[in-house]
């Protein structure tokens, strides 16, 4: 009994340390604000809340895009930066020229902008490869397994880079 308790505690803390510093969700949102790809990286079965976060963060993207005054110098910038300063997680946005949005949700509160920028750049190229597939229907969900694998590689390397 005692052993199991101790073990229990240690695994939990290990879990925490992993979950506290990582990307929990990455999403591609089409120009009509429709989800094209959404992948969560949490262990719990709570993808829906991440759907919610991504969906609501579109408000911020919309706001920035629709109010050029506020985002004046950002016009030519694809990286939208931090969308959401909340207490518990951070949402970053990226807007391609075709008005496709990439949304990143991370629980790593000390992440650096440059890292995220770099992440998005890599993600963008993965996305470009995925939609360049002649069998991909533009505007439809991305179902490519290769893309999913590549995304998870990028996500893993991101976590590794920032935490390690």
């Amino acid at each position: 009994m005692f052993n199991s308790q101790a073990k229990f505690g240690s695994t939990e803390s290990a879990n925490l340390s992993v979950t506290e510093k990582m990307i929990v969700c990455i999403a591609v949102v089409g120009h009509q604000n429709n989800p094209l790809y959404i992948q969560s990286f949490t262990e719990a079965d709570d993808a829906l809340k991440l759907h919610h976060i991504v969906h609501c963060s579109l408000d911020v993207v919309d706001e920035r895009v629709n109010n050029p005054k506020k985002s004046g110098p950002m016009l030519n910038e694809t990286f939208l930066g931090l969308l959401y300063p909340t207490e518990n997680y951070k949402v970053y946005g990226y807007l391609t020229n075709t008005k496709v949005k990439f949304i990143l949700v991370t629980t790593d509160l000390d992440v650096r902008d440059a890292d995220v920028r770099n992440f998005f750049r890599r993600f963008h190229s993965a996305y470009l490869d995925a939609v360049s597939n002649p069998f991909h229907v533009p505007g439809k969900k991305i179902t490519s397994k290769t893309f999913a694998e590549r995304v998870s590689t990028i996500v893993k390397s991101f976590s590794f880079n920032t935490t390690g």
Partner: protein, 1254 residues
């Protein structure tokens, strides 16, 4: 300098306004005080800000204080310097003097003494008390004032002004105000400079150990306070900002361990809008301040200034970031702070901010952009507050009342639990509360989702609270870890992470007695892990200690209060979001409100809100989220008996991505749809199933139809239902692509259709459509009593779940109906004439033009004079084009075709005037042979050779028509009608001529036979039946020498036969022959023609056999007119000579004929002759009786003259009028001249009258 803090604070608190010192030298103050005070506050003053830029300040408050006042006295010089913000900013010297000497000797030295202090800004007010009517006095006053000006004013600066107590003073007050303002400005500038210098000096030492933040603070705040007094709020705010920056920079310098603060009672209530909540002296620590209080104090000062600057928006937005950053600071010190003070503080601060900003905010004050942003921040504040409030409620055990929605999960499950050093433990006397709480939790029934949907609920907790709380307890005996996994824990957690990570819960019996909450057991094991209920109770007690705000405590004291507050916060957040750009946030919160409404039975409101949420999600295609909310909406609609809405929700649920629901659930949706569809609906409404049932035409080219043809349309339907579904009826509209105003036409399928899940192919019979191409329009139909319609057209593949953009109309036509064109041709096969009065084959070419004639029916209607030989069957055979084409290529083509085509032959019988064409003829050109006989009752008449051809029988006589009507097409809908002319003729045209007259009176009659047909004719026999007055020569039987026969007459050639006849009376006794006025030529012949060319052997003959039987011979009879010799006629008509001078147009003359009886005729027993004059009316005008009887004696040789008056009308050779005797046969008349003749008619004589020149 730290000891100055208290002093500074007291000075600051006692000082409110800018002070102006009044040096009253002549006891004038009581006299002018009222006037001076009335000028306060200064309406408008121009001051310099920190950057030396002029700033206009309105309503600057100030206070006049006499220098003799105690407030301005008894100050130490050092104090004066440090706290110079409270020193007078201007000194007004009040003087009066009526005598120059007095001025010079007394006043001037005193004044000099006063103004020699450079630190002061001063000016002199000379008060003249001279009454206006006293010229002497006022003159003196003027003199003194002039002297004063000379002495004290300089070029640079005007330091004097004059107040006439009894005179007009408007100009003075303005002058005074501007002078005071000038002084204040100068003083302010100097003092700013002083403080800046001091601050700069202190800043430089910032990182030295001796540095004291307190001193810095006093300087900085003095400056800020001075700005504030001078209404330079902007500058004041900047000072506070800098102060805050400096504080944050220095406060966390390592090595200086300070108290954080926040441990006192009431600290849980945010003080970020109330700078005076706690005196600064209480929070001072060493040489700095406690962070908890001081940061709030700084923010409060900033907020105060911002409100003064009328920028409540900025308070809100700065406030939000402050709350976030302060929350982080609280988190750092959470272990030493009271339990959950962070959450409580955030709640109170957010509420404080929204209330304070609302009080200062009025709409329209700022631009729409800022206004939207303002509401956004308010929404953020409310939703932050809401999240923290939920967290507190969860800790108190109200978790079951919180909807486990994505939004709540997102805000709570990533929010760490409070981390107190030691988790609060149960008070020893709280066992009854534990029981009560347990009861409450047990009573809360988990909400069951509609349709039996079972989903793992989203977590509201970052980790298991049970585990977290027990882990943080001071002492935990680990002996009974399994009690952590009390049966209720999984229920409360909902996250299910327990179930996965728990060490095999199966090992422990489920029937484990739950006695650990009984008091006895409780007390005995104080150190065993707490149960969840105990955790809740412990948290409640701890929170009660933390929360000092009774309002907040009330709102979490019971479930009802919590729900009310929760609803209030959610509504406020949603409302504010709705006013901002962040519509999604607002709508999502509406969903949370709806959940509460639903729980309380307010289904109407709940449905409305849920609808908004669903519209948001479905509009943007977020199906996962939609799948979470839509069942709730459906449930509301079901409860509200909104059948239409409920149905459409069910259909939407079905049309969501299949992976989002289990098959069982989808089947439940379908059964709901079917159940409602078959029930009696109160208000049946058509249901839109566009996303569920989609349709498309079959791939491949569209169905092509000829105009007027029906067809069968095959359509693919995709059913999104999980099970088979029966559609009671189904119809599909077709829309013409070319013609928009053309009404759409529905085609329906007969009977019920059962759709399998996935792809179905249905066929619909298509009535004839108008020309054009058609696309599929709308699918309508019925499930039970429910009408449905679908606009969704799938393109080839299965219905995409992502149908956001698939509402485009398909452009591919499914049906093409061609323009009307000829589909078949009927033509006569033969153009040459057929034999009259004989059964003949009429050939009709039936030529399908790229169109099947399968099952075609041909109606044959013969015209007058033609009948179908019923005795023979109609024949049909493959048509071979025998005529050579000009271009060889096509000919060869045709040959090949002919070679490949099997010769077909069919005999058909006529039924009711119509025949059915055989199947083989449906695609190839065929020829139909119809046996007909043209009937001509009259006898062919021969003509005498050399007569005018017009007298030959007309072609029209032999023309017959066959009306054809072909009904064909799939349902005989196509009709082709044509009337074909068929030409019939006798085999010969006969003309005669007397070839020679022998001396014995025998005449050689030459009969010339012109072949009329396109076939060789063989004459086997020919004879004459002579008329009266003629007899066969040589007593023969009227036949030529038999050796001549058979005589072959090729087509289009002539043949002649000579008969010898003689004049003479008929010797035969046969009556009939006597009556026969004409000679009849009889010819027995055979014809060797082909029916494909023209005339041919009649089928009744040809089929009989090959022997040269008499039955095989055809008989042709033709009447001949034989004329008696010239002498023989009984009457002679002679044309009498015309006048010798010729005929002229318009000249009257008499035309005369003489009729003479040559011999007596027995049968003409009357002595009258009927005559008739015929003339061409174009050439002749006739006067007199044209027709009439003239007496003529029956005796031979009697004669009579018939004359008639004529006028020629046309010049030239014209035929004269002719006299005819209609009653007497042509043969009995001898004419002179014998044939037609012409007379010459001259033109009319020239009329000179026409030639007279004008």
């Amino acid at each position: 300098m730290a000891n100055f803090l208290a002093q500074f604070l007291s000075i600051k608190n006692s000082c409110e306004r800018v002070v102006i010192a009044v040096e009253d030298m002549s006891d004038l103050w009581p006299l002018v005080k009222k006037g001076f005070d009335e000028r306060l506050p200064f309406k408008r003053a121009t001051l310099n800000n920190k950057t030396r830029n002029p700033v206009s300040v309105d309503n600057l408050p100030a206070e006049f204080i006499l220098t003799t006042d105690s407030r301005l006295r008894s100050r130490f010089p050092q104090e004066q310097l440090l706290f110079s913000f409270r020193e007078p900013y201007a000194t007004v010297v009040l003087v009066t003097c009526e005598d120059l000497d007095e001025f010079k000797t007394i006043l001037k030295p005193r004044l000099k003494l006063i103004v020699q202090n450079d630190e002061r800004e001063w000016f002199i007010v000379f008060v003249s008390r001279a009454p206006p009517h006293n010229d002497q006095a006022s003159k003196m006053a003027k003199k003194v004032y002039a002297k004063l000006e000379v002495d004290f004013s300089s070029k640079k600066r005007e330091r004097c002004c004059k107040l006439d107590i009894h005179g007009p003073e408007a100009a003075f007050w303005e002058d005074l105000e501007s002078k005071i303002t000038e002084c204040i400005r100068n003083t302010l500038d100097r003092r700013i400079q002083f403080y800046e210098e001091e601050i700069r000096k202190l800043s430089e030492q910032r990182f030295k150990p001796v540095w004291s933040f307190c001193n810095f603070f006093i300087l900085k705040e003095s400056l800020a306070f001075m700005f504030e007094m001078a209404h330079l709020h902007e500058d004041s705010l900047r000072e506070y900002d800098e102060l805050e920056l400096c504080y944050l920079e220095t406060v966390n310098i390592a090595g200086k361990q300070r108290d954080f603060g926040g441990m006192e009672h009431g600290d849980d209530q945010a003080a970020l809008l109330n700078p005076a909540k706690k005196p600064l002296t209480q929070i001072v620590q060493d040489d700095s301040f406690r962070e908890f209080e001081f940061r709030q104090y700084l923010f409060a000062c900033q907020a105060k200034l911002l409100f003064k600057l009328n920028r409540p928006f900025e308070v809100a937005s700065r406030g939000f970031s402050f709350v976030i950053s302060f929350s982080k600071a609280l988190a750092l010190h959470e272990s030493i702070l009271p339990f959950c003070i962070r959450e409580v503080w955030i709640i109170t601060s957010c509420l404080g901010l929204v209330n304070a900003t609302a009080a200062h905010y009025s709409n329209g004050l700022v631009g729409p952009e800022i206004e939207k942003e303002y509401y956004r921040v308010r929404g953020e504040l409310y939703s932050l507050c809401r999240a923290k409030f939920m967290r507190l409620a969860y800790l108190l055990g109200y978790g079951s009342a919180i909807e486990k929605s994505p939004v709540n999960s997102a805000s709570l499950s990533m929010l760490p639990w409070p981390k107190p050093a030691v988790w609060p433990s149960m008070p020893s006397d709280a066992s009854s509360e534990v029981l009560a709480k347990e009861k409450m939790i047990l009573q809360a029934t988990p909400r069951v989702k509609h349709f039996g949907i079972q989903r793992k609920l989203l977590p509201l907790e970052p980790a298991s609270l049970l585990r977290e709380a027990n882990r943080r307890r001071a002492s935990l005996s680990a002996g009974n870890v399994f009690e952590l996994f009390d049966g209720r824990s999984t229920f409360m957690d909902g996250s299910g992470s327990d179930a996965r990570t728990s060490p095999s819960p199966k090992l422990h019996p489920i029937s484990m007695p739950r006695t650990n909450s009984t008091p006895g057991n409780f007390e005995s094991s104080i150190d065993r892990p707490m149960t969840l209920t105990e955790i809740f109770v412990a948290a409640e007690h701890a929170l009660q200690k933390t929360i000092s705000d009774p309002g907040l405590w009330t709102s979490i004291s019971s479930l009802e209060e919590f729900e009310q507050k929760y609803l209030e916060l959610s509504k406020a957040a949603a409302d504010n979001y709705h006013h901002s750009w962040w519509k999604r946030h607002g709508v999502v919160l509406d969903g949370e409100i709806a959940a509460v409404c639903f729980k309380h039975g307010n289904h109407d409101l709940a449905a409305k809100s849920y609808e908004k949420v669903c519209a948001l999600y479905s509009g943007e295609g977020w199906e996962d989220l939609l799948a979470d909310v839509l069942p709730n909406l459906a449930e509301c609609q079901k409860i509200l008996n909104d059948q239409a809405g409920y149905l459409s929700s069910c259909v939407r649920l079905l049309s969501l991505d299949k992976g989002l629901f289990l098959t069982k659930e989808r089947q439940a949706f379908q059964s709901e749809v079917v159940r409602l569809a078959h029930s009696e609906m109160e208000h049946p409404v058509p249901l839109d199933v566009s996303s569920l049932i989609t349709f498309s035409g079959n791939s491949g080219p569209p169905l092509e139809l000829c105009d007027g043809d029906p067809g069968i349309l095959s359509v693919t339907l995709w059913s999104g239902f999980p099970d088979d579904i029966t559609l009671e009826s189904l119809s599909l509209t077709l829309t013409a692509t070319s013609n928009a105003d053309e009404g759409v036409k529905a085609i329906r399928s007969s009977g019920a259709t059962i759709l399998n899940p996935g792809r179905n192919t249905i066929t619909l019979s298509l009535p004839p459509q108008k020309t054009g191409s058609y696309v599929l329009g709308v699918l309508t139909g019925q499930i039970g009593h429910l009408r449905f319609r679908s606009h969704g057209s799938a393109r080839g593949g299965p219905a995409e779940s992502d149908d956001l953009m698939s509402y485009e109309k398909p452009t591919r036509p499914i049906l093409k109906v061609f323009k009307p064109r000829s589909l078949v041709d009927l033509a006569a096969a033969v153009s040459s004439a057929l034999l009259m009065n004989e059964p003949q084959w009429v050939g009709i070419i039936v030529k399908p033009l790229n169109y099947s004639l399968k099952g075609a029916v041909l109606h044959i209607d013969t015209g007058p004079g033609l009948r179908i030989e019923e005795s023979h069957a109609i024949e049909m055979e493959t048509y071979t084009n025998t005529s050579k084409n000009e271009d060889g290529l096509e000919d060869r083509d045709g040959d090949r075709n002919n070679a490949s085509v099997v010769k077909e032959f069919t005999q058909l019988t006529l039924k009711d005037g119509s025949i059915e064409l055989p199947d083989w003829a449906s695609h190839i050109v065929s020829v139909l042979w119809i046996p007909v006989r043209a009937i001509n009752e009259g006898l062919a008449r021969g003509t005498s050779a050399g007569t005018v051809s017009s007298q030959r029988p007309s072609v029209v006589d032999g023309l017959r028509t066959v009306a054809l009507k072909l009904e064909f097409g799939v349902s005989h809908n196509q009709i082709f009608e044509r009337t074909i002319a068929v030409h019939f003729t006798n085999p010969f045209h006969v003309s005669t001529r007397v070839a020679d007259k022998c001396s014995d009176g025998t005449l050689l009659l030459q009969v010339i036979l012109h072949s009329q047909v396109k076939a060789p004719l063989t004459i086997h026999d020919a004879w004459l039946d002579l008329q009266d007055g003629f007899a066969h020569g040589d007593r023969g039987d009227g036949r030529p020498t038999p050796a001549f026969f058979p005589l072959v007459v090729p087509s289009a050639s002539k043949a002649g036969i000579l008969f010898s006849i003689s004049l003479g009376t008929t010797t035969t006794e046969d009556e009939a022959k006597v009556l026969n006025p004409d000679t009849i030529l009889n010819i027995r012949y055979k014809i060797a023609g082909e029916r494909s060319l023209g005339s041919h052997t009649p089928m009744s003959v040809g089929s009989n056999g090959t022997e040269d039987d008499a039955t095989q011979l055809l008989t042709f009879r033709s009447a001949l007119v034989l004329q008696r010799p010239v002498l023989e006629p009984c009457l002679a008509v002679g044309f009498l000579p015309l006048p010798s001078d010729g005929l002229r147009v318009g000249q009257l003359f008499t035309m005369k004929w003489r009729v003479e009886r040559l011999k007596y005729l027995e049968e003409e027993n009357n002595d009258e002759v009927l005559y008739e004059v015929n003339a061409n009316s174009e050439n002749w005008m006739i006067a007199g009786r044209k027709r009439g009887h003239v007496p003529l004696s029956a005796k031979q040789g009697s004669r009579i003259e018939i004359s008639i008056l004529c006028v020629p009308l046309a010049a030239g050779y014209v035929r004269p009028p002719q006299l005819e005797l209609p009653n007497i046969g042509g043969a009995n008349i001898s004419c002179n001249p014998a044939g037609p003749h012409l007379v010459c008619v001259f033109p009319p004589p020239l009329s000179s009258s026409f030639c007279i020149p004008a």
